[in-house]
Subunit: 151 residues, 6 copies
């Protein structure tokens, strides 16, 4: 991976990822892997009586895919020391089977730490569907290498 | 599912889930489903040179499994109207292949909304390994039915 | 799991499980895992010429799912010492992709053994589709803890 | 498939299948597909305290694999009209990760029906491990084409 | 497996395999296992603007399935010492979700080696869809046991 | 993807991909997806008696993974019009469970076509293990956009 640093990502820096169509296969495989068989994802008879009318994708599946899709973009290079966590993950709209999602990433916060070699950044992931509607938003927190200390 | 309400879960209410051993299979299947092939999970040569010495599980996999494991416990009954999101997800320690995780859940916050039929609760999930070490912590936010309005 | 005993389940005791929609994904994954590529499940051209007109789910998949679905209900608590086997498994009607199945369980037989701490029970699983038609029936045999000997 | 008939399989006719090593991957994938996360298969800490000491394969997985393995042998040709069901499935010994199973098949019963074109046969599947120990036995019931009526 | 030899397969010898319907599940599982998320297979919005209009199967998936399908036919018996490789693999037409493929195999080349116990054969695999259109062609190279040296 | 052209890749141009550890999970999932249960990959008892001593990965799995790994590197940008096929795929050494593979890519041939907008290139993929031994080699054929015609 290209060497990149904290300093390479200003607040406001942004990009978007490739797009992936979310399928019944993703949802059934997800359910099995994470043990989440909630009827909204797995029981089409139940869903027919809800406001959604049909099975929808698990929210955490959309999060998991978003993390992978941003990784495939390889924009962060080898800047990241560690993934610190996630804040403010919110589900905004359902993802139906056949919807195609894209992750829009923007750097929204950066902060030097007491160690001159490290900085913290918050990257906001906004996941949108094929109608450009936001379906999920979340803030990823990364600990990054600083260039100055590595120069 | 048993009918349960916001009022059934006081702050401090807690329980733990079944336990699951995290395996190489979980990690390889996760990588494929979420498109996350970061070397810390997929390249044992790379890992041998890190502080971890060996491949470790993806953090979001631990989150995904925790959501499923809490669902299997069925403690929430049909109290939940909607999953609102997640706050303060933090990875605290690596999960290695063969580690066995359990989710410890505690209600840490509850708040009535302007609608008498709805309330918000925060359930803290602390995921621990077989040595009782916390490996991940996160706050799940649920919108719940209130009993009073449904009586 | 809650401690339960042989004595907690009288003949006639019954319950039903959650419901799951059987999908093309279940069938393709099943075929790969169990090595069963019989054309009735995997070749839509072949199926078009049969009485079924379309691919149908493997019978043993319905059995496998039924075992899991009854386990998710957790009604048996920790009463079970061992799964002894299955009798009289019969396929009654085809399960098509998109059908939603539910397991109806009834205790149909119980018998004390020569050991005062153990008893045998037969639980009949009737798997029904969304039109309430029975698609499979089978008798599960369990060896259970008896309460009297554990008091 | 070769055309074969009821008359081609006498009582006592027997063969064995290819052999397959049962792995952690089979068990984790099975659990997800059939929703069976019983600790004897998924929780190595729990298993360490049992007589088995380690995780073991699900019994129904061994059944599912046996059905597929017999199908791969293609001995039955196109003799079968329908799979009628299973009788007397019994788990005889645990299958551990890394054990290699083979199915030994023997025709144990055959019976003409009132229709001259159809007959019923019972094929006993004895599944053995690499130490030639029987781990499961079961009786498969098939409805078959009779040659006389098709001549 | 039946003992077979180089001498059992003349140039012109041919057979066809069972048929399998290629599904969305095959494609999503393939993408995850081989890390190939090219939009022609995974992004239905992108595909709608291409000449194909919809997602199509990965070419290497068709190759992988063809190898398996020929193996299931078990025509080669135990004649093969080693798989030497592949030549002239060409994608001729797209495979869409729901298409059903069959492999037509023909021995197109055989050559004795300096070792009297070994011979080389080229088996041409032509993969056709349900409209009898060739979608892929490739030449498999096998090293085989010769009968003369084993007599 | 970045716009790239035939002209951007001279003969001799080369790069290598990320590395992936090939696991039992890859092999079991591959077998199921492609229906290839040859004992060299699935039967550890059989393998113990071969020169390999243990189960090895399917050759086509290594090919499939190589295609995906080169795609993840995204070096080709949007230069490719179509994947034409593969030549001279040869298995050179076994890949065992736990081996880590990397694809080394080199442009070995390029040729203009009669259409000024298109050119053909051959990219040689040499797949190496963690001991820098070549395990597979193959020639990928691509049809590419030419810059001159698109200027």
């Amino acid at each position: 991976m290209t060497q990149k640093y904290y300093e390479d990502f200003d607040i406001g820096f942004n990009f978007k990822t490739l797009s992936i169509t979310v399928t019944e296969t993703h949802v059934v495989n997800w359910a099995g892997l994470t043990m989440d068989f909630y009827p909204l994802h797995m029981d089409s008879e139940y869903c027919a009586k809800t406001v959604f009318k049909e099975r929808i994708a698990h929210g955490p599946l959309i999060f998991g895919m978003a993390v992978g899709m941003v990784g495939l973009a390889k924009v962060e290079g080898s800047s990241i020391i560690a993934w610190m966590g996630v804040d403010k993950m919110r589900m905004l709209a359902p993802v139906k089977f056949g919807d195609t999602i894209t992750v829009h990433v923007e750097v929204v916060e950066r902060k030097e730490t007491s160690k001159p070699s490290q900085g913290l950044q918050t990257w906001r992931y906004t996941i949108k569907n094929q109608r450009d509607e936001a379906v999920m938003v979340l803030d990823m927190k990364f600990l990054m290498h600083r260039k100055v200390a590595n120069a």
